[in-house]
């Protein structure tokens, strides 16, 4: 070819103008895009660590089970402890659990009483009523009574599993507050209207609490920590007007069952301190206004009841205090006067915390809580905590499965794994001691709720991939169009080139693929021109 005419060469002969090189460049671009895509996807995607799904699923099916060891000894003449024990074991196993053992033992076997997790039933004729003390039950055994065996079985069943035996199990469940390792206990003396006179200006709660409530707090120490606060309010108006009732010619005031549900006027009464996230149990001593005394609680038929207190499920308890009518002026509630009120609070507290009552016919020797009750509560709480933890774990797994944008970080994964191992430990410890099992189960519960409420799990919930793409569209759209067009054009050229090669077989096709057939060339008369590569 003549290149001297304009001093330039035919561009199609330039080494970088070869179709092969061009295709290589194009391929390199595409390779880069394809390599970068996963990297881009990875850097903009959220961290979702795998959770141990199968373990969680397996764990949720497990049930915590406590073996019960009962020792039986008899001080009554003519009673075969072995036979009674066998009979008892058979009857209780069918009612409670297959993991129940009743072993006859000697009367003065000292090692039994110190053995953890076991109970001792002493049959005797020296007591009038059954008496519990620590883990020992002294049971009156009458040889002549034919139902003696079933009575004992009933007592034991009620002591060991008080919740299933409870008459109003459903209602009871509803009252008991959710488990927390720390409770705030707030005692409040509320005067409906101290300015009306004859109101309680202070109370000696400190001394009374020390005497009456402290033993209970101490006994429940293994389960809960308690923070105690008390306050007095001088203006605590009710949100409604109590009903006036005429009783034997004198006017009294009454609270209907509907009134009780709206009794606490949380808008006006500042009851909680607000510095804590722990659940608060409130105990209110309400002194009605001087104009609305005495204030009684009515039943649904509208007649007076003898009760002056009521429990608000999972919230606390209220006691209404009507000062004696002869009271003149404002007064102070003395510690001795509180002796009749605080036992009601104590009773309400025990109900709210789910401490079982002793079955009828059984008395506690010192009036304090026995090991039977505390253990029953421990077993119940361990059971609840384990179930709750299992459910929460199940929910976490389900939630993570359902919401694909939910991040799962290292701490969530670790909490879930730790909770699983804590649950395992709880199941193992249940065989040894209810206290240990309870400790592990409450740890499992704390871990699962921490994992469930992990703030990191919400981080990118509202940043879907559509947004990610939308932000980059101005870049992607304008960059990909030339890339795609170049590929299509190159492909078309390649097909055309193949076709021409097949039909003519002419060797000199250097420019065939690049020139339209209509164009005729004179190689002596060329210019090179660079134009935009658009048709």
């Amino acid at each position: 070819m003549d290149k001297s005419h304009y001093g330039s060469r035919n561009p199609s002969e330039l080494p970088f103008e070869s179709p092969f090189l061009r295709r290589c460049i194009l391929a390199a671009y595409w390779a880069l895009v394809l390599v970068a895509l996963p990297a881009w996807w990875h850097t903009t995607s959220i961290e979702r660590l795998p959770l141990p799904m199968s373990q969680v699923m397996a764990q949720t099916k497990r049930e915590i089970e406590f073996p019960l060891n009962i020792r039986l000894s008899s001080a009554v003449d003519g009673v075969d402890a072995d036979a009674v024990a066998h009979e008892l074991e058979r009857s209780l196993r069918s009612r409670l659990s297959s993991q129940l053992f009743v072993l006859p033992t000697g009367l003065n076997d000292v090692s039994v009483s110190s053995e953890p997790g076991s109970y001792w039933v002493k049959l005797t004729d020296g007591v009038q009523e059954s008496v519990v003390e620590e883990n020992v039950l002294q049971h009156r055994w009458d040889v002549r009574d034919s139902t003696a065996s079933s009575t004992l079985a009933n007592r034991l069943a009620a002591l060991l599993s008080p919740y299933s035996e409870h008459a109003h199990a459903e209602q009871h469940e509803h009252v008991v507050s959710k488990y927390a390792s720390r409770y705030h206990i707030a005692f409040t003396l509320l005067n409906e209207d101290a300015a009306s006179g004859k109101s309680a200006l202070s109370w000696q709660i400190r001394e009374a609490l020390q005497r009456i409530m402290r033993p209970v707090f101490k006994r429940l120490g293994p389960l809960h920590n308690f923070t105690i606060e008390s306050q007095v309010q001088f203006h605590a108006p009710l949100a409604f007007t109590p009903t006036a009732v005429d009783v034997n010619g004198t006017e009294v005031y009454g609270l209907t069952p509907e009134d009780l549900t709206v009794f606490v006027n949380s808008a006006e009464w500042t009851l909680s301190s607000g510095v804590t996230n722990d659940p608060i149990l409130h105990f209110l001593l309400f002194v009605p206004s001087a104009f609305r005394r005495p204030l009684h609680i009515l039943d649904s038929a509208g007649t007076l009841t003898r009760s002056h207190s009521f429990i608000l499920p999972q919230w606390g308890g209220v006691v209404i205090y009507n000062p004696p009518p002869e009271t003149q002026g404002n007064f102070h509630i003395l510690s001795s006067q509180l002796d009749s009120i605080l036992p009601i609070f104590r009773h309400q507290l025990l109900s709210l915390l789910g401490v079982p009552r002793l079955p009828s016919g059984v008395k506690s020797v010192s009036g304090s809580l026995s090991t039977w009750q505390i253990d029953a509560l421990l077993r119940r709480r361990a059971h609840e905590n384990a179930r709750e933890a299992q459910q929460t774990l199940g929910s976490i797994v389900k939630l993570v499965e359902q919401i694909e944008n939910m991040p799962v970080g290292k701490d969530v994964k670790r909490d879930v794994e730790d909770a699983l191992s804590a649950l395992d430990q709880a199941f193992e410890a249940a065989l040894i001691s209810p206290k240990l099992a309870f400790d592990h189960s409450s740890r499992a519960l704390t871990l699962t709720s921490r994992a469930f409420f992990n703030p990191g799990m919400l981080a990118l919930l509202y940043f879907p991939p559509e947004h990610r793409l939308a932000v980059y569209t101005p870049l992607f759209a304008s960059a990909t169009v030339p890339l795609i067009v170049a590929v299509i054009r190159e492909f078309a050229a390649w097909r055309k080139q193949r076709k021409t090669a097949a039909s003519s077989g002419i060797a000199d096709i250097t420019s065939v693929g690049y020139c339209p057939s209509s164009a005729t060339f004179d190689h002596n008369d060329v210019i090179t021109k660079v134009g935009l590569n658009q048709r």
Partner: protein, 556 residues
């Protein structure tokens, strides 16, 4: 109580002894002061004091220990728990709205009158939680307690001045020293939602006693209103909480016939119906006009040194105090002769300059006293405005001088982190006007740092001037032992807040930037890509008759 000591374990006993003295008795006092002003307005100041005798602030070193039971009677439980939780020894919170006119109204009974929210606390070091951690917890807890945006008093607003905020009470002598944390939020508004929790902290709430007069409809209609909470401890006495509400009413505005006569009913729209049964002292003090004919009704319990005192510990029938000027048919503002300012010191602070990058801060302090006054001047500035300290010029009565300023302490601001603190002692010559001028730079904020309604600008906190004299000389009219417990303390004068206009961006900017940069990248990419894959071909120019130039190009 002896009984309970015995059954406590020894460690707990030590702890109890260390933090809480024997059973505490609590007393509650309430007082309302009403002061008619010469411009026809009336200052009302409510003060509710609860003293928890024998109580001691909590030592932060014992914060981890088991919490001992807390028994409160009159002391507000909500506030008590916050103080215990964060072991604050002394605390002062004020929420004000409006600009206090020192010259027209005199020195206020409640001295913390800076616009917006101000919180300062003395917190002891010690324990595992640092002072700053507890300060953060404290302001968040108070934000929750008073429904105010105190949570935003963060590190960008917290300073520790050395001279201006001395403790009001005593500080317990623990092993580690106490530290001051002070923060202001001038843009905070005060309203009913702050008053409701405030009233709930009072033993008689807003139902009986003097607090029954606190009617939000009238208080927040007042020309100036503000509430404050002060907690302090005095050795041998106990922890004292003082809740105060101060408002400046304009009876002339409220009256139909343009008279300045007022009564409790006319300004609060309420009267005192019932006494608070637990108040150990309850009284209303009315300052009587001087050199004027007036009538006050009903007859006060005591009249003393120009003050009428009403004892409200027992109220038989509705008490509605009224003060009338019977000889005056219409109140006219006294214009002639020129009014003497009621405050001997007055401060004016302005920010000059129109640009969004530079400005000049100009403070003018006038001393009308015949003697020299030393005063601490405190300027806490968010980092949005930065001082050029070298440009500081001082003019006394128009003459440049260097000597009035001494003991300059300056903490430079850290952008996005810490505010600036300028504290120094000024010597104000007698009967003089001292002017301080300083250039300032306005910062350029990040996109996310702008508040909602960014175009409004930023409120700058008030500067504080603390004359190093006691307040007796500052209360203009009849300083009396009857009035207030503030007399022994140093007064504190707040300047007005400033509004600074910072450069605000167009808030659609990020999207514009994304699109702009994407377009540029796409253009560059397109060019490079085209050059690399371009095909160059030879095109013949055909000589056609009549058309001698046919530019031919061939591209594909």
């Amino acid at each position: 109580m002896i009984f309970s000591w015995r059954i406590l374990p020894a460690t707990l006993l030590l702890y109890v002894l260390g933090t809480l003295a024997s059973p505490t008795s609590e007393t509650f006092q309430e007082e309302l002061t009403l002061r008619p002003l010469r411009d026809g307005k009336v200052i009302s100041r409510f003060s509710f004091t609860t003293l928890r005798e024998g109580a001691v602030p909590r030592n932060p070193e014992l914060l981890e220990a088991k919490d001992i039971p807390q028994y409160y009677t009159l002391f507000p439980l909500g506030l008590g728990q916050v103080l215990r939780e964060y072991a604050a020894s002394e605390l002062h919170l004020s929420l004000n709205s409006g600009k206090w006119d020192y010259e027209g109204w005199g020195y206020p009974g409640e001295q913390e009158v800076g616009t917006g929210a101000q919180l300062w606390a003395w917190i002891s070091d010690g324990g595992s939680a640092t002072v700053d951690e507890r300060w953060k917890g404290l302001r968040n807890a108070l934000a929750g307690l008073f429904c105010a945006s105190l949570g935003s008093l963060d590190d960008q607003r917290t300073t520790s001045p050395k001279l201006a905020f001395v403790p009001v009470g005593d500080l317990p002598a623990w092993k580690l020293p106490h530290q001051l944390r002070h923060a202001t939020l001038p843009s905070e508004n005060v309203c009913t939602e702050n008053l409701t929790p405030f009233l709930k902290l009072l033993p008689c709430k807003g139902i009986s006693g003097i607090a029954g007069l606190l009617n939000p409809h009238r208080l927040f209609d007042a020309d100036w209103h503000g509430m404050s909470v002060h907690v302090s401890w005095r050795e041998g006495r106990g922890i004292e909480v003082r809740l105060a509400f101060q408002a400046v009413f304009d009876p002339v505005r409220l009256s139909i016939d343009k008279k300045r006569d007022w009564s409790l009913q006319s300004i609060f729209d309420k009267s005192i119906r019932k006494a608070c049964p637990v108040a150990s002292s309850s009284r209303i003090v009315v300052e009587l006009p001087k050199n004027e004919a007036y009538a006050i009704d009903p007859k006060p319990s005591i009249v003393q040194e120009g003050f009428a005192v009403y004892d409200t510990s027992h109220v038989e029938k509705d008490l509605d105090i009224s003060l009338r000027w019977p000889l005056e048919s219409v109140f006219s503002y006294p214009l002639d002769p020129p009014l003497q300012p009621l405050s001997p010191l007055s401060v004016q602070r302005i920010l000059k300059g129109t640009s969004q990058s530079r400005g000049q801060l100009s403070v003018s302090i006038r001393n009308t006293l015949p003697s020299e006054v030393q005063a601490v001047y405190l300027e806490t500035m968010p980092w949005h405005v930065q001082f050029y300290l070298h440009t500081l010029k001082i003019l006394v009565n128009g003459h440049a001088r260097d000597d009035p300023l001494s003991d300059i302490a300056y903490t430079p601001p850290v952008p996005h982190g810490r505010p600036a603190l300028l504290e120094s002692v000024l010597r104000l010559p007698p009967n003089s006007t001292t002017q301080l001028d300083m250039d300032v730079m306005k910062s350029f904020l990040r996109y996310t740092e702008h508040p909602p309604d960014a175009q409004r600008g930023w409120d700058l906190p008030p500067a504080v001037l603390v004359p190093l004299v006691n307040s007796t000389s500052f209360v203009a009219s009849g300083a009396s032992t009857l009035l207030g417990n503030d007399m022994s303390r140093r007064p504190r004068i707040y300047t007005r807040t400033l509004l600074v206009d910072l450069a605000t961006p167009d808030f659609s900017m990020p999207y514009n930037v994304i699109i702009m940069s994407c377009t540029l990248i796409a253009l560059t990419f397109g060019m490079v890509f085209n050059l690399m894959t371009r095909r160059f071909v030879v095109v013949k120019l055909r000589e056609t008759p009549g058309r001698n130039e046919v530019p031919m190009e061939k591209t594909e």
